[in-house]
Symmetry: C2
Subunit: 129 residues, 2 copies
DNA sequence: TTGCAAAACGCAACAATGTTGCATTAAAAA
DNA sequence: TTTTTAATGCAACATTGTTGCGTTTTGCAA
């Protein structure tokens, strides 16, 4: 295993992700760390952070890829994302709902590896009165 | 409401989707109807078919977008895709498992619109002995 | 503290996927 | 058959992501 390094770009990207209440895409992240590093670096930093289990990748319902911290995750175990994501159609934010675990029964001829559940709708902050 | 027309391109695309046992992406579809119509037309045809509720869009776990018929769907009702998709890590094919409906309970502060569940794993055809 | 190996970076170029504008073609209704 | 306008082709552009390579910087170790 190679030694990961702590660089300015990595810190900046991780910081933005950590301080955001919702998942961010690469373009959104680049916008926020602009000046700190190159566009390509953001891609590479994100790949590394995912590999290091610092962040995880969320595919939104429209196919866009977003990144978020995972409160329940630490470096010591591999990621098993059997929790769900909520995607708000109003504010477009993506939340992890880690307390909601998913269980599905399939015929035994299917071997399940991972579950990806995203629910679209209106989040609490965007509810009309 | 405008009148949809039945064109060669539309028939060709729909035909490929109907004759495939798994969901196809735009590039895959274009490859299969090459010669019949332009690349851009495939995009437009797909948009129209989705609007007309003839096919539905599936976002795969890697963010790629695929299209499939929905056996249980007809033109008379709006699409509610509360069934799940199985994405095989071996053959890369995506299947609709329409018999498996999903039910999730969230706090009432969340207003649910649609559910997107994709399970990755190994499909029956790709199981090792 | 300084030197060094390689991890990480910037930049340029490229690739894949999707979108838009506009003039032309062709469905399907009159 | 004529007419209307949905649909197409083509060219140009936009966005997102990738690759190669020479240069910089980090973290370790002398």
């Amino acid at each position: 295993m190679t030694n990961p390094r702590n660089t300015k770009a990595k810190q900046a990207v991780l910081n933005e992700i950590a301080n955001s209440s919702f998942a961010l895409s690469q373009p959104e992240l680049f916008e926020r760390v602009k000046g700190t590093c190159d566009r390509v670096t953001v891609y590479r930093v994100l790949d590394r952070l995912v590999t290091e289990n610092k962040i995880h990748k969320i595919v939104n319902i429209d196919g866009t890829i977003n990144y978020a911290l995972c409160a329940s995750c630490d470096d010591s175990h591999s990621h098993a994302h059997d929790h769900l994501h909520f995607s708000c159609v109003t504010c477009k934010k993506i939340e992890c709902l880690e307390e909601h675990l998913i269980q599905v029964k399939l015929p035994e001829t299917y071997q399940i590896k991972e579950l990806f559940l995203t629910i679209s709708g209106i989040c609490p902050s965007c509810q009309p009165l």
